[in-house]
């Protein structure tokens, strides 16, 4: 048997010719800091050092490591942290942390090489971008990574203690943080799913006997509904649990399946044709998924088209006639266009994964989820279990972005298999599953008409949006155009176009980015035709006080003041500057509860929230620490467990606004109790009175529940739904009643000014600078809020320039099922990002803070598009603005 030396120890290597180094590292040696993400050498999450060189352990055969020295993240900084690890912690160069070990390995190797030859010189952005070009971070922590690597190489982290702004950062840079995919119970089996290879059909009898006959197979179950119908490629048919993945895959292959194909229809264009096969007959409509954050309102539904959802329209008939007259009169100010956006995949680096474990009648579920508490409720309901018999745990979650908000197939299948096999079972999706069947932001076709009035106001806006929702419904693209830019009339209609594709899902500001891509370009075009500065026009048309402050800030930026017009530019490379606005709703979850205790003199805050990389742990730690005059790392925060007091889901940007107010209430009560129980008052003039009181305090606990907001609001601040009158009121009530979310007063807002460079020979766009102004009230955790803002921009750049799910239009197969074909931004695609927080506007919220996660990504794609227009005179109508599209437009040809 051959061996390798790993982290200083000798370890045996398996004889299996197909065993990869990562299998040995993660499974045999339980060194789970090394992560498997793409399985194709694209993302770098599995990077380890082999004889000092960073390599992709997901592609390196285990036997090739014979006689070699291997170092994983657990072997970096074991005695004391490596300078790169410290730099990542201090510069907040991470969010969910799932990609972090790979980055640490590569950056540490680079650092050591650099220091050996260059001393403490600082590497350039370009050098860092090139060396880390084989690593992907979906949260978009690149901005911090640049700073961290530069600082470590220049010797700033050679010694001394450091403090990270993110409380769990140390576990993430050392590989100690355990994610769902890292859970390994005694006797745990691996669950694998047999999926449909046809887009529509009826599945015949399943013969499990050959699968169950294989040694090591614990269970095989059917996942079909009574009608045995599958409606998309990838729909689950059956599942198997076996001692390892290889055995489970062999068992899946052994299941005999027969199927009868039914007529299918794929995509937006085909599904709208009059004789297209119907995906959901009336009786089956409940099986459709949901692409929004809340429950949907009823809407007409005929064949594959559900809509119009047009409740937010205002004088739609008049709008139609005004636009028609303007068209007849050839009014040059009438802006019309059809915009198309691409399908964006969430691409969480930690796949959808669940480990289910029954002990007697108790069920423990480790899940990669955006809502430990709500998931517990959903599991209890589905399996008819009491809440106290179900426990959902998620210590760390490797990204969610909307795709892990509900009870997913990975969870129900893990539970069903665990029950059937009478053993703990893990289900973790592979990358192809992740990029095909876990949801996506639907592509859309947005028809728009915008008509300024003769006086220079906004007279009419018409937006009709068709969303490519697959086997799902409830798109709200046009609807969102109601809550910004008041007009004399608005005609807004949303349609879901259902086809035999996997269902879409909520994705970071669902409906927001496609709406903004169309509307914000139309505003830009109107400004141009009206010969008004585009920011000035927004100031004229947009009444929201939060955004008006951001416009003032944007107008003062040098890059805006110095921009040129398209006509001024010639030559191969052209630069342009664009602006766009975005908003999102301020949502909070009623009933959210936080407990704050003092125990043995130490403060502990607990709530059943989860940290998907957004920083909820730190927000709570900071809030408690600030009130007691302590440092955040002195506060223990317990989250990620449904046994804790009910906490909010991480969706709708609601976590900060849901947990900060009850934390403050709990602190108030706890302080009173501590003072009451104090035998001795702190010394007069003490600069740390609470430190003294806490040290002497008996163990005490207090809790707070999210209160209603104050009705005392700053001038002009009101619920955005007020604009929609009674319907808005009903909509708000429905959100609260059906989705347990309150739409609060005040509108989280973002204005972005973006500079790009266009290579007109190669159709390539480089985003150079982004200025993102954000109004979300007081910033609860500044470094982390900055990371969120920068990450939102980077994800928005992906949406604008690179990301598109590609399918086969005949079969419904997802072709972009790997990370080489589904292209998310890399570190070298990251612009210089300037974040401006305007902290006013939310004083009516206890603590003054609302969420940032969604609003910050809404304006990026239109701002990039407007910048490209400014550079080239070409109006990008289709997302993503890839080289194939841009070069065709530049050459005046139709794109494919």
């Amino acid at each position: 048997m051959s061996t390798m030396t790993i982290n200083g120890r000798v370890a045996p290597l398996p004889d299996d010719i197909d065993a990869m180094l990562i299998d040995v590292v993660r499974t045999d040696l339980d060194l789970t800091g090394t992560k498997l993400v793409c399985g194709a050498g694209v993302c770098g999450a599995c990077t380890v050092l082999v004889d000092g060189a960073p390599v992709a352990s997901c592609l390196m055969p285990a036997r090739a490591a014979a006689g070699k020295t291997v170092t994983t993240v657990e072997g970096i900084g074991t005695e004391k942290l490596h300078p790169v690890q410290k730099a990542f912690m201090v510069h907040d160069a991470l969010q969910c942390g799932f990609c972090t070990p790979g980055f640490i390995i590569e950056a540490a190797a680079f650092h050591d090489r650099w220091r050996a030859t260059k001393g403490t010189a600082t590497p350039s952005r370009e050098e860092i971008g090139a060396v880390l070009s084989g690593h992907l971070c979906r949260c978009g922590a690149y901005d911090g990574i640049f700073s961290a690597v530069a600082a470590a190489c220049s010797g700033q982290f050679d010694g001394g203690d450091i403090v990270s702004p993110r409380v769990e950062a140390r576990d993430k840079v050392t590989g100690a943080a355990k994610y769902t995919v890292d859970i390994n119970h005694e006797g745990q089996l691996e669950g694998v799913i047999l999926r449909s290879e046809i887009a529509h059909g009826k599945i015949g009898e399943l013969d499990f006997a050959p699968a169950l006959a294989l040694p090591g197979v614990g269970a095989a179950i059917s996942l079909l509904a009574e009608d045995r119908i599958v409606r998309f490629v990838g729909q689950p048919i059956a599942a198997v649990a076996a001692r390892d993945r290889k055995t489970a895959l062999a068992a899946i292959a052994a299941i005999k399946v027969s199927s009868e194909k039914l007529p299918s229809v794929i995509g937006l264009d085909e599904a709208r044709k009059p004789n297209a096969p119907v995906v959901f007959e009336k009786a089956d409509r409940k099986k459709a998924g949901n692409v929004s954050e809340g429950a949907g309102a009823p809407a007409p539904w005929k064949a594959n088209i559900r809509g119009p959802s047009a409740a937010f329209s205002l004088k739609p008939k008049q709008v139609r006639s005004w636009v028609e007259s303007a068209r007849q009169e050839k009014n040059p100010l009438l802006v019309e266009g059809v915009f198309r956006t691409g399908t964006q995949s969430h691409t969480c680096l930690e796949p959808h994964a669940t480990v289910a474990h029954f002990e007697g009648d108790r069920l423990t579920v480790h899940a990669s989820t955006q809502s430990v508490f709500h998931l517990m409720e959903l599991i209890a309901k589905r399996y008819k279990l009491d809440h106290d018999k179900v426990r959902v745990i998620a210590d760390h979650v490797g990204g969610g972005f909307g795709s892990k908000a509900s009870l997913g197939a990975e969870t129900t299948i893990a539970i069903d298999l665990a029950r059937a096999a009478n053993a703990p079972v893990r289900v973790a999706f592979d990358r192809h599953e992740e990029l095909s069947v876990t949801g996506y932001r639907p592509a859309s076709e947005v028809k728009l008409a915008l008509l300024p009035s003769e006086q220079g106001g906004l007279k009419a806006l018409s937006v009709t949006a068709y969303a490519d929702t697959g086997a799902a419904i409830n798109s709200t693209i046009a609807t969102l155009a109601r809550l910004i830019y008041p007009a004399e009339g608005k005609e807004l209609a949303d349609f879901d176009v259902i086809s035999n594709l996997p269902p879409g899902a909520a994705f970071r500001g669902p409906g927001g980015p496609p709406m903004a891509f169309a509307v914000e370009q139309a505003i830009d075009e109107a400004a141009l035709r009206m010969k008004v500065d585009p920011i000035e026009l927004r100031k004229r048309w947009d009444t929201d006080p939060n955004r008006r402050r951001l416009y003032e800030w944007a107008q003062g930026l040098d890059v805006w003041r110095n921009r040129k017009s398209p006509a001024e530019q010639t030559g191969r490379y052209r630069r342009g500057v664009g602006v766009a606005t975005g908003y999102w709703l301020y949502l909070w979850q009623p009933g959210s509860k936080v407990e704050v205790s003092v125990k043995g003199g130490r403060l502990i805050a607990s709530t059943a929230i989860q940290d998907i990389g957004t920083g909820s742990r730190t927000v709570i730690a900071n809030t408690v620490a600030r009130e007691f005059g302590l440092e955040p790392h002195e506060v223990e925060v317990h989250i990620g467990d449904s046994k804790l007091p009910v906490g909010p889901g991480s969706g709708g940007s609601r976590t900060t606004a849901s947990v900060v107010p009850p934390t403050l209430l709990a602190i108030q009560k706890l302080k009173a109790a501590i003072e009451k129980n104090a035998k001795q008052k702190p010394a007069p003039g003490s600069n740390a009175p609470w430190r003294e009181l806490l040290a002497a305090s008996p163990d005490l606990t207090a809790s707070g529940v999210r209160p209603e907001d104050s009705r005392q609001m700053a001038p002009g601040i009101e619920s955005p739904l007020k604009q929609v009158g009674i319907l808005g009121w009903i909509f708000g009530k429905m959100m609260r009643w059906m989705s347990n979310m309150v739409i609060g007063a005040g509108v989280p807002s973002s204005v972005q000014v973006i500079e790009v460079e266009v290579d007109t020979w190669l159709g390539h766009v480089r985003v150079l600078n982004v200025h993102t102004g954000i109004a979300v009230g007081k910033i609860a955790a500044p470094a982390l809020a900055r990371s969120q803002a920068a990450g939102s921009v980077i994800q928005g750049i992906g949406y604008a320039l690179y990301e598109a799910r590609e399918i086969d239009g005949r079969t419904g197969d997802t072709l972009s099922g790997g990370l080489e074909d589904y292209r998310i931004p890399g570190i070298a695609d990251t612009p210089v990002i300037d974040v401006h927080f305007d902290e006013a506007g939310f004083d009516h919220v206890l603590g003054g803070s609302v969420g940032i996660g969604e609003v910050a990504t809404v304006p990026t794609s239109p701002a990039v598009a407007n910048a490209i227009y400014n550079a080239t005179g070409i109006r990008p109508m289709d997302l993503p603005i890839r080289p194939d599209r841009l070069i065709s437009a530049l050459k005046g040809r139709a794109a494919a």
């Binding site: 990077t47 390196m60 320039l801 890399g826 080289p883």
Partner: protein, 302 residues
């Protein structure tokens, strides 16, 4: 026996491991034992260079002598894949790697290279496929190194044959069932590069959507001797556009002996697309090809 069932050689496995994981490759495997004669660089007394098939891309990318004598080879090696792949991947493996076509890589879809009867990309989604439609399969050849070797008139040595040109090994695109014409059991041992010319220079450029780490939409390796303001010698080899790496002979012809000026470069760039037969979705690659050719020619002329 279907092609997938023949024994596949494994060097570093950077291509093969992904196909094993997905189930596209299921047949027997044989690991290559890295003997000293297939690793590393061997300079001949006559100024030629032999590179062993097992030499890693990272070694080629970092070698100063290669960068001096064959800058197009070095730049191509530096430009492909990612650092973690380049540290593992070998030259031989790069030449003999399989197609990156998304239909080929899907274990549930039949195609010509997997014993199927037609090419699903041709009638389906071929956004990233060929613009020179030279055969039944429309996937571009994935080897960046092969295009660079073509530009340098390199020859390939196997354990049974030697002196093979790139077209001898990779064909002309008319065979849609395989990615190369190596015989069953035939393994690449190394490559031989002729002595570089006096004063020759070379550049490599790929057109992609992001900054790094993407299969090229179009790539070019260009060599030239520019003397007295004219192209004394010019060689252009393109990848990403055809089932095999392609010499752009019409563009070369338009420059040979001509003044290295903007007008001639623009004309030659237009000639780069001579003979192209784009698919419905790949017309853009011709514009990009023109762009990358102009890019490298301007650098060569500078």
């Amino acid at each position: 026996m279907t092609p997938a069932m023949t024994t596949e050689f494994r060097a570093a496995g950077t291509d093969l491991s992904e196909r094993r994981r997905s189930g596209v490759s299921k047949g027997p495997l044989m690991d290559i034992v890295p003997a000293s004669d297939i690793s590393g660089m061997h300079w001949g007394a006559d100024g030629t260079l032999r590179i062993g098939a097992y030499t890693t891309i990272a070694m080629i990318a970092a070698d100063r002598s290669i960068a001096a004598a064959y800058p197009g080879i070095a730049a191509s090696a530096q430009g492909l894949a990612t650092p973690q792949i380049r540290h593992l991947a070998t030259l031989g493996g790069n030449i003999a790697q399989r197609s990156r076509c998304w239909y080929f890589r899907n274990p549930h879809i039949a195609c010509l290279k997997k014993g199927g009867t037609d090419c699903p990309a041709r009638s389906g989604n071929h956004l990233y496929h060929v613009a020179f439609d030279l055969g039944p399969c429309v996937a571009p050849h994935p080897s960046t190194m092969a295009a660079a070797l073509l530009a340098y008139d390199a020859t390939i040595i196997t354990y049974t044959r030697s002196g093979l040109s790139i077209p001898d090994v990779l064909g002309d695109g008319s065979n849609g069932t395989a990615d190369n014409l190596l015989q069953p059991g035939e393994m690449i041992r190394g490559i031989e590069l002729p002595k570089p010319m006096q004063d020759e220079r070379a550049f490599y450029k790929r057109a992609i959507s992001r900054a790094y780490a993407e299969w090229p939409l179009v790539e070019i390796c260009a060599r030239a001797v520019v003397k007295d303001g004219a192209f004394q010698f010019i060689r252009l080899a393109a990848g990403g556009i055809a089932p095999v790496p392609l010499r752009l002979k019409a563009a070369e012809g338009a420059l040979q002996g001509k003044a290295a000026n903007a007008l001639n470069i623009e004309v030659a760039a237009k000639f780069a697309t001579s003979g192209a037969k784009p698919l419905p979705m790949t017309g853009y690659k011709l514009d990009l090809l023109e762009g990358v050719v102009r890019d490298v020619l301007e650098k060569l002329a500078a």
